[in-house]
């Protein structure tokens, strides 16, 4: 059941620097896609293509062992951002109370 739905292959920007990893396991706790696992005191990437680049692992790594170009996989936000010349913007925020 876990990770039964898969997106495109070989696109994600997730990167793990094992020399910095202390094996605290925080990243395995926060990853919602079971991409990472602990083995022999270090973290290992077991399911790279399942990564959705949410950035939870890198944000919560105190040792900066994980890097990922985080963002939300939303085409609507990318289109809006491109039209406005900004970063992806999904308009799902409280700025527009008008509607």
């Amino acid at each position: 059941m876990i990770n039964s739905m898969r997106y495109l292959k070989n696109v994600v920007t997730l990167n793990l620097d094992k020399t910095k990893c202390t094996g605290c396991g925080r990243c395995t706790e926060v990853c919602p896609r079971t991409v990472l696992t602990l083995s022999n005191g270090k973290v290992e990437t077991i399911d790279r293509d399942a990564c959705i680049e949410c950035g939870a692992c890198s944000r919560n790594c105190p040792f900066e062992a994980l890097t990922v170009s985080a963002g939300v996989g939303c085409a609507y936000a990318v289109i809006r951002g491109a039209l406005k010349g900004t970063a992806p913007d999904c308009a799902c925020s409280g700025k527009s109370d008008c509607c």
């Binding site: 706790e29 926060v30 919602p32 680049e53 944000r59 170009s69 085409a75 609507y76 799902c92 700025k95």
Partner: protein, 343 residues
């Protein structure tokens, strides 16, 4: 209705907390709460469905009770409190501008700074004697747990993704099973996010309707049943992109959402013209425009799924968007050409 004197109906009373009093909230959803939830799922008042940030109480919490952190989107708050029946805990509501935990974490409003700010604002260290708080796991993209601990003294424990798993998580001694840590996208969950997609399609539906009616007029038709029936394939293409693809998501071949939408669109366009089709230009117009519409809406569904990445979305957009535009432009040109020949 909200009574100005008493506050919202889900506040049952007040309890002493540290140096002040905080509202005690109900763990049962009223009819009003449920209807409000249905409305926002259909996009009604979705941007202003929020509650006041701050500290709330469930049951009869004391200085030893756990602290659960959540967002101030009322749909989120409701799904949390209805799963806390029989418990005595504190609930710290962050100001996420009325956005759910996952999306707010992506924007950083469910984030490190906001937690530090709220912990100070409600004087959490005077309310509880322990130094630990439980965050929803889906808030993690916005929160650097080690920074929160350094700045507030509170240890961060990431709880389960789904509020429904909280009682089991607490009974497990704050340990999450692997199942609690992985996002799912079940049929029920896909159906829940589908209405908003459908509502947001109105601009394109309107454009297709205008195009269709203008062409009908140019071809010498007035408003009639045949014009109405002629629009049904366009409406169908939108429904395929917004409903059929989300529902059938795991079973439609391909990994790209745009491709799934195009495939479902072209198959149904073929079925339609096999049954109702007549001259070749009209058929070709349908084959060019309908799958493109379905494909566009399926591509837009990427934002509602929990399994797409930004890099992946950008990659498929680079291929799909030009093809969608070219396909629609060819279809429109062909339609105009067909009309012109007819005149």
């Amino acid at each position: 209705m909200e009574d100005k004197e008493k506050g919202p109906g889900w506040i049952k009373g007040w309890v002493a907390a540290g140096m002040g009093f905080v509202p005690v909230i109900s763990t049962r959803l009223s009819l009003e709460d449920t209807l409000g939830g249905v409305c926002v799922r259909w996009g009604i008042g979705r941007m202003s469905y929020r509650i006041l940030p701050g500290l709330y109480a469930v049951g009869k919490p004391d200085a030893d009770s756990l602290v659960l952190v959540t967002a101030n989107y009322k749909l989120t708050f409701d799904s949390l409190r209805k799963n806390l029946e029989g418990l005595s805990v504190w609930v710290l509501v962050l100001d996420t501008k009325g956005v759910n935990v996952w999306c707010a974490a992506g924007k950083g409003t469910f984030g490190t700074e906001e937690i530090i700010r709220q912990v100070a604002a409600v004087n959490l260290s005077s309310v509880v004697s322990h130094r630990m708080m439980i965050l929803p796991q889906l808030g993690a993209p916005g929160v650097a747990a080690h920074v929160v601990t350094r700045m507030t003294g509170f240890k961060v424990v990431y709880g389960p993704i789904r509020a429904a798993d909280i009682p089991r998580f607490l009974n497990n001694g704050l340990k999450a099973d692997p199942g609690m840590r992985a996002v799912s996208f079940t049929l029920k969950e896909r159906l829940a996010v589908m209405p908003v997609e459908l509502i947001q399609s109105w601009k394109i539906a309107l454009a297709a309707l205008l195009f269709h009616v203008l062409c009908a007029f140019a071809g010498g038709n007035t408003i009639s049943w045949s014009v109405f029936f002629g629009f049904l394939p366009y409406a169908g293409a939108i429904l395929i992109g917004c409903i059929f693809v989300p529902v059938m998501l795991p079973w439609i071949p391909g990994r790209s959402l745009a491709f799934k939408g195009w495939l479902a669109g072209i198959v149904s366009a073929f079925v339609y013209i096999l049954i109702y089709g007549h001259q070749w230009t009209g058929n070709l117009v349908y084959l060019l425009i309908l799958p493109a519409i379905s494909s566009f809406f399926a591509l837009n569904f990427t934002g509602a799924t929990p399994y797409t990445s930004l890099s992946g979305v950008k990659k498929e957009m680079k291929v799909a968007l030009p093809l969608i535009v070219i396909s629609v432009v060819f279809g429109v040109v062909l339609q105009i050409f067909g009309l012109w020949r007819l005149l």
